[in-house]
């Protein structure tokens, strides 16, 4: 079995005051190593809750979530932090880079918390930045970079720890369509090298670049369909910024 993610009957209930909100009403699915999955649905459908849980930022109320055969529901806060650090990489809609910090330092951040020595951190960070096409911009501050470049720094940061999964939450939501294609092209390259990617999006044309569509509605998965013929994200030659 090569399931990176195995979710069985997972529920998530929030209580706000005396209101009980069932965000997930029992979902089951699994993701195999090397898949590129789009998680879709309207807002309030439970896809973000599911993503937080898959990202080990939250634990399920009921059911079982196995991440590489580890039952995440039974871990402490520190153990979850450890898993996020070593097995997961995050890419957010708002980039979420540290302000007034260079690209390289942003990318090094997960390695700092993994207690990796400075020289090795630097080397790995430079390699990750090169993979997303930002070689030469290591010392730019995050506010000196364009949105697309910032998102590529964020991808490098997610990559730098050799994670099992990259979790991307609407990674193209703040980008224009051209830059979105660039970002999707990077994701596709990474995926071709065997990295598992889970991506939340509500744009069907972005989901078209992935290999599988999971669609949420009202806390349930209403459709789980493979995309046999994903689009290839290609930026026309000579126009790469």
């Amino acid at each position: 079995m090569d399931d990176v993610v195995k979710v069985t009957d997972v529920t998530k209930v929030y209580t706000m005051g005396d209101q009980r909100v069932e965000a997930l009403k029992g979902i089951s699915f699994s993701v195999r190593r090397g898949e590129f999955v789009a998680i879709m649905g309207a807002s309030g459908s439970g896809k973000s809750t599911c993503m937080n849980m898959l990202g080990c930022l939250d634990v399920p109320t009921g059911g079982e979530y196995l991440l590489e055969e580890v039952n995440v529901g039974k871990l402490s806060g520190n153990e979850l932090a450890e898993i996020r650090n070593r097995k997961l990489g995050f890419v957010f809609q708002g980039f979420n880079l540290l302000a007034r910090t260079t690209a390289r330092e942003n990318v090094e951040l997960p390695l700092v918390y993994a207690r990796i020595p400075a020289a090795e951190r630097r080397e790995k960070a430079l390699a990750a930045l090169a993979q997303v096409g930002l070689a030469g911009r290591e010392d730019h501050y995050s506010n000196q970079l364009s949105g697309g470049q910032q998102q590529r720094v964020a991808i490098a940061r997610a990559l730098v720890n050799d994670p099992s999964i990259i979790m991307a939450d609407e990674p193209t939501g703040n980008l224009d369509s051209r830059t979105s294609i660039e970002i999707m092209s990077i994701f596709q390259q990474l995926n071709r090298r065997g990295i598992t990617i889970l991506m939340v999006t509500h744009e069907p044309d972005i989901a078209a670049y992935t290999g599988r569509h999971l669609i949420f509605r009202d806390g349930l998965i209403i459709s789980d369909t493979p995309n046999a013929n994903p689009h290839t994200a290609e930026v026309p030659r000579g126009e790469t910024p």
Partner: protein, 409 residues
């Protein structure tokens, strides 16, 4: 170790970003620590000054004062009646085994004249032992001699203030001055002694032989009596014993009993010293605690800014948590920042405090004593303030929920 170093780097970066705010935040601590250092230095200097002045009176001293007498139902106050005699002084020296020296005195004020200069000063008739008792060396010339006393010779030794006022820069030794119009030869000039604990100028004095003072200057009514006597015990250990011996001897000589009230008092100068030291210690503590309050206020300022900083950086905290920072890492980061603020503030404050103490001692001619203990304690205290007031905001940061923190706008 690497993590501590990391948090230090992160903290320095965070403070650099908001330089002005960091400086203003530190200001409370800077002022607090500077105040503590300066106040403690001034307090310690004052207490050293007091104890120096007291020891300048001489060491292991008893003061025997004539007491009150009752005549016709009218009681005079302490020292109001001349009840002590030169013979009492000689008897004390001869018969009390714990006593080293006795210096009886007759005291009065007089106008002294040299050439066209004149000066009003204290004239003290005493014996040569006075300088031993007071631990007071002669600067030039010689001390009074026993033969000066016995022969009631008109020789005198003068203090520096008198010399300055009568002679200016000229050498006073061998010159003739007039005290109450009686000519005296200056045979010695005393070393400079400075202020007494009561603030009087100890150098403003002329010593003349006891007999001379009694017969020619002040003693016309009671030719054989003396005023106060200074008694020096052999050492500090027998001071109390000397006090008892002197009291017992004078009781016997003055026939003090149930029917007769004691007509003298014996005072121990080390008790006076203890009281003075106690009061200067109280002053130091008072100054120190006032300064500590400003340190407390500074600490609250730190806490306030750290809370603001945590709120402002909620998103950053969320990012750090999402990519693997543990609660401990976040706690350490904010705690380091607070401690860095207070210790840097503490170091600056120490510098200012030392400079402030020096300025005070220069401007007000007040001695200050900067102790390394005070500096070390102030430094540790400022770090402690950082930990104490930084802990709550840091814990608040560390206990944020990563999802909420990431969503925070």
């Amino acid at each position: 170790m690497t993590t501590l170093w990391q948090s230090l780097l992160i903290a320095m970066r965070a403070l650099r970003v908001n330089k002005m705010r960091a400086l203003l935040t530190m200001l409370g601590i800077i002022i607090g620590i500077a105040a503590v250092i300066a106040m403690v230095a001034i307090g310690a200097g004052a207490s050293k000054m007091i104890s120096d002045q007291i020891s300048s009176m001489g060491s292991n001293l008893l003061l025997v004062l004539p007491g009150s007498t009752t005549s016709g139902g009218l009681r005079s106050g302490s020292g109001g009646a001349p009840t002590l005699t030169y013979d009492d002084a000689r008897a004390i020296k001869a018969e009390c085994p714990s006593v080293a020296e006795v210096a009886p005195t007759v005291r009065g004020s007089a106008q002294v004249v040299y050439g066209n200069q004149n000066w009003s000063t204290i004239v003290l008739g005493t014996t040569p032992d006075m300088l031993t008792v007071r631990d007071w060396p002669v600067f030039a010339g010689r001390n009074l001699s026993p033969s000066d006393v016995d022969g009631a010779l008109k020789n005198c030794i003068i203090g520096q203030t008198v010399a300055d006022n009568l002679f200016g820069d000229a050498d006073p030794i061998g010159k003739i001055i007039r005290i109450k119009k009686i000519p005296f030869t200056v045979v010695g000039l005393l070393d400079r002694k400075g202020q007494s604990p009561q603030g009087t100028d100890q150098d403003d004095v002329v010593f003349v032989p006891l007999r001379t003072a009694q017969r020619k200057l002040f003693g016309s009514q009671f030719p054989n009596t003396v005023g106060a006597m200074m008694v020096q015990a052999k050492d500090a250990a027998v001071l109390d014993q000397a006090q008892e011996e002197v009291t017992a001897l004078l009781d016997q000589r003055h026939r003090i009993g149930p029917a007769r009230e004691r007509d003298f008092t014996v005072r121990n100068l080390s008790e006076i010293m203890a009281v003075a030291e106690q009061s200067s210690r109280v002053m130091s503590i008072l100054l120190g605690s006032v300064a500590s309050i400003s340190l407390l206020v500074g600490g609250i300022g730190i806490m306030n800014i750290m809370l603001v900083s945590v709120t402002e950086r909620t998103r950053e905290i969320g990012i750090r948590m999402a990519i693997g920072a543990k609660q401990r890492d976040i706690l350490l980061q904010f705690l380091t920042e607070a401690v860095l603020l207070t210790t840097v503030g503490g170091i600056i404050g120490m510098g200012l405090g030392v400079v402030g103490a020096m300025v005070v001692s220069k401007l007000m001619d007040w001695p200050t004593l900067i102790s390394s203990t005070a500096i070390i304690i102030a430094f540790l205290f400022s770090a402690g303030v950082g930990v104490f007031f930084g802990f709550y905001p840091a814990r608040k940061a560390a206990s944020l929920n990563p999802i909420d923190a990431l969503r925070y706008e």
